[in-house]
């Protein structure tokens, strides 16, 4: 069977599963729509959280980034996992105890203020919408690249699938689909990695293979370091991202941002008890760690494979352009791989110097082309396509629910029309979900200029606004509404200002009045790493403003006492 038919079959089969789940897990009331009835087993919730969390960026882009950044790529590995420690220790158990449906609802109760609720909704919507645009693009790209379907048509199919299970099932439908999506995703990620690790090092476990030896007896990482430094690239295992100081803040921003992203926090409202919330965070990280500890192995091995396919010890023996393998030709067609014969000798030189003739090697192809480079069977390649789609769909659905519930539950029921009945609210939440899908789809069809910078913004906003407000709400009894609101606004303000002044207002480059240049960066911290500074500003402003205003009322203090006990 040819690759295209096989891919259609495998991707089609996964879609049948998702739609089947949608019919089986329909939401009958708001409880089921927002928190899946609140009785999801902690291990099942852990798995759903892992799928919710790991997006197209984790599945497709991360290993590629690490492959080219080497040690500097560690910020993503540590940052996107270490946040779960903060979540498990500082937020999840207490928010679960409070028993709200949404994150802004907790903020509203804790800070006895509708203004605080609206501010939280605004932060949530900006962070989630920017994030969901990336997923929509991922769905369209995956379809167009693997199934040779038009980008727009692919996006339509993706939207229709999410529409069916998210509108019908709400959190309940999303939870069970995410579990299925996790299974597909992890199989698709690990199988090629196991094959490649075994072929290179003789050890089928990628985590051991990365520290293992090659056929000639030398360590894989030593060999990689030696080959690429000889070619003029920076050493793989020691190449820091700008500076260790910048890496410190980048990692911190990603950790705090992870713990503050509402679509992740919400997943912990679905488990039956405080105890379950704690262990569920651990299970989530187990399922995430399976992919995240495999990624560095995929990265280093893909880099080694790519280099040794092209470059040979003697330049005259390098790969001749006319002899390039079929995966090379395929990816050249997409424009993600480009060769330019600068010295006209017909051979390819891939180096870290100005003689480099591989003028473009897009980092995203590392995971996608990996099975082809290693010569794996077609069904593995088809599986990778299904895995990439599962990653994008599962994250998109989680984000859309966060957006829809903040509109129907926080804005409508919470602020504007508290008198509506449960039935009306359920209908409103379905309409809000459908509308969110339409808006996300619109941005998917017309990706705005700022799409590339959105991840920085999503993490920066979550880190600088939502996380500090939640943490102070639990660990400080004296934090009042004035402090929390001022802190959130100051945190977002500083982060937005920093990102915009270096990357342009709404990411329009010509408006970047300070230019995206290292000398202008505050203490050498890059804009993507600024969320941690925003969080520090938030904490400080909140503390100062809180001191000047009256303490929270006694009922709020009693509520804090209550959520602190299991």
């Amino acid at each position: 069977m040819d690759l295209k038919t096989l891919t259609f079959l495998i991707v089609g089969a996964t879609f049948v599963v998702y739609i089947g789940i949608a019919f089986w897990a329909r939401a009958r009331n708001t409880n089921e729509f927002y928190i899946a009835g609140g009785d999801i087993h902690p291990v099942a919730n852990g798995m759903a959280t892992a799928a919710d969390w790991m997006s197209a960026a984790s599945f497709i882009s991360m290993a590629g980034m690490i492959a080219f950044l080497g040690y500097g790529g560690s910020v993503f590995l540590m940052g996107w996992t270490g946040g779960y420690v903060l979540l498990a220790l500082l937020l999840a158990p207490y928010l679960r105890k409070h028993g709200s449906f949404t994150v802004p609802e907790f903020i509203s109760d804790r800070y006895y203020s509708k203004t605080a609720r609206v501010v939280a909704v605004v932060c949530l919507i900006i962070a989630s919408v920017t994030y969901v645009i990336g997923q929509m693009k991922g769905i369209g790209v995956a379809f167009s690249r693997f199934l040779e379907v038009d980008y727009d048509q692919g996006l339509m199919v993706g939207m229709a699938i999410v529409f069916i299970y998210a509108v019908m099932g709400g959190m309940k439908g999303i939870t069970y689909t995410q579990i299925a999506q996790y299974v597909i995703m992890i199989i698709a990620y690990t199988i090629p990695a196991i094959f490649i690790s075994f072929m290179l090092t003789g050890n089928p476990i990628p985590q051991f293979g990365l520290g293992g030896t090659l056929e000639d007896g030398s360590y894989l990482l030593d060999k990689l370091d030696q080959i690429i430094t000889d070619l003029g690239f920076k050493e793989y295992t020691t190449n820091a991202r700008l500076s260790l100081f910048n890496m410190f803040f980048y990692t911190l921003s990603l950790m705090i941002g992870t713990a503050g992203l509402p679509h992740v926090i919400m997943r912990f409202f679905t488990v039956p008890s405080v105890k379950a919330a704690r262990s569920s965070a651990g299970w989530a990280l187990v399922f995430i760690a399976i992919l995240y500890t495999t990624a560095p192995a995929v990265a280093a091995m893909a880099r080694l494979n790519l280099i040794t396919t092209i470059d040979q010890p003697e330049q005259e023996q390098n790969l001749a352009y006319k002899d390039r393998p079929s995966w090379f030709r395929n990816w050249e067609k997409t424009g993600l791989l480009q060769f330019e014969d600068k010295n006209g000798d017909g051979f390819i030189q891939y180096t870290g110097t100005e003689n480099n003739e591989m003028v473009k090697v897009d980092r995203d192809i590392m995971v996608l082309a990996n099975p082809e480079i290693a010569g794996l069977p077609n069904w593995v390649i088809a599986l990778v396509a299904a895995g990439g789609l599962a990653a994008a769909l599962s994250t998109a659905a989680g984000l859309l629910l966060a957006i829809a519930s903040s509109i129907s539950h926080d804005l409508l029921k919470g602020v504007f029309r508290p008198e509506i009945s449960e039935k009306e609210e359920l209908r409103a939440s379905r309409i809000a979900m459908a509308a969110s899908i339409a808006v996300a789809g619109y941005f998917g069809f017309n990706p705005p200029d700022f799409a590339a910078g959105t991840v920085a913004l999503a993490f920066g906003l979550a880190a600088s606004s939502i996380f500090p407000a939640l943490m102070m709400g639990i660990f400080s009894k004296t934090m009042n509404k004035e402090g929390a609101i001022a802190g959130m606004l100051a945190g977002i303000g500083v982060t937005l200002l920093y990102v915009f002044q270096h990357k342009g207002i709404m990411f329009i480059q010509s408006t970047a009045f300070l230019g995206n240049m290292e000398p202008n960066w505050f203490l050498g911290i890059e804009p993507n790493a600024f969320g941690a500074i925003g969080a520090i500003v938030n904490f400080s402003v909140a503390y100062l403003v809180a001191k000047k205003n009256p303490e929270p009322p006694i009922e709020v203090k009693e509520m804090i006492e209550r959520i602190r006990l299991p």
Binding site: L77, M78, A88, G211, Y219, S273, R278, A289, P566
Partner: protein
């Protein structure tokens, strides 16, 4: 000091202990001390690099389960039974 305050105090000191470990393995071993740790080999890994790309993640997982287990003990000690508590 009443019972609830005792419970909260034990909880926060456990949190601080865990966060110190969280900080040391990632920011300490993976970033600040990475160059000196890299002089030590762990199989084919330089130790600092291993902490940054593998070790810190394993320790994060262990930390969450350790916290969860210890909190279970503290819950019991203070006689709160939250499994039925919806």
């Amino acid at each position: 000091m009443n019972k609830d305050q005792g419970y909260w105090k034990e909880n926060t000191s456990l949190i601080i202990k865990c966060l110190v470990i969280w900080f040391v393995v990632s920011y300490g071993f993976g970033i600040i001390l990475v160059d000196s740790l890299n002089t030590i080999q762990l199989g084919g890994y330089k130790l600092g690099f291993w902490f940054a790309q593998q070790g810190s993640i394993y320790i994060f997982v262990i930390l969450i389960f350790y916290y969860s287990f210890k909190m279970g003990e503290i819950d019991q000690k203070y006689g709160s039974n939250n499994d039925q508590d919806k």
